[in-house]
Amino acid sequence: MTSNNGIDDKLTLGSYTFSSRLIAGTGKFTTPEIMRDALAASGTEMVTVAIRRVDLQDRGKTSILGVLQEGGYTILPNTAACFTAEDAVLTARLAREALDTSLVKLEVIGDKETLFPDTEGLLEAARTLIADGFTVLPYTNDDPILARKLQDLGCAAVMPLAAPIGSGLGIRNPYNILHILRTVRIPVIVDAGVGTASDAAIAMELGCHGVLMNTGIAGAKDPVRMAGAMRRAVLAGRDAFLAGRIPRKLYATASSPLEGVVGT
């Protein structure tokens, strides 16, 4: 998916390059078919998966990987629901073994209610995994100082939350996102909180390099249609950012000539 004007505008994360700036989650879809069609409509090239114990009592479930590999997606395993650096590191290493990828969406969760990151554990896990050769994409809060620390450790991007995971509240603190964009040189990807197309567009208009979303698509009444809307919103927001918006002014500036007005 190139930008609207055919401009060659790629997202680079470590050694991975993507034409689409939308990263999609695979959770919460009501059927595999809806997931497949929504992912296709979103134009995404990279999708997240979670890592869980194999259910040894119920072996009838089909693997999600078949559908995802048919779609040709890069797989981004996450460490969702890990509450310690130790668990997140083990989960990432298991994911690498199972999926043959060094990519990891690193989550170290600090609290069940908000799912906000445990920043100490996040830094510790990021340090360990980077030393171990991982391409670390950390889910973080919208804190520019933490973003700088994650960059200095060698993370391939920072992924600040716009609002709590699954909340659909949109970009709650655009000024912090701007601070992060001014603080780090690595890609900034808004991860979590996007509820509708305008939220994705705002993230991209701020200058973010990408958006990661799951519930915003999977939880919509028509996930496939919303996925298409998100695809266009990310493209529109990116193009608006690159085009350079006009400054905000308090008073009007006429768009039509002031000379030759009838009756003057």
Binding site: A50, R52, N78, E86, L90
Partner: protein, 76 residues
């Protein structure tokens, strides 16, 4: 179990958090075969250490080992 094969029973493991009994001398490869799990698309850790799939035949399980077998599922 597997008494017919001449194995003594009694190796008590924890498999994905639950008690699991395997014959003495069981390797990781044998355990996965018994569970009908194929090494591709899954990963295994024993006592918190990931076991690369090529090494499964050499990993001999011991009493009390904690075995985790994982795979990818839908998630954000």
């Amino acid at each position: 179990m597997n008494a017919a094969a001449g194995w003594r029973t009694g190796l008590k493991l924890r498999l994905n958090g639950k008690p699991h009994e395997a014959p003495e001398g069981t390797t990781l490869e044998a355990l996965l075969r018994e569970l009908d799990l194929h090494a591709e698309r899954i990963a295994v850790a024993v006592n918190g250490v990931v076991q690369p799939r090529g090494g499964h035949p050499q990993v001999r399980l011991a009493e009390g080992d904690e075995v985790e077998v994982i795979h990818a599922v839908a998630g954000g």
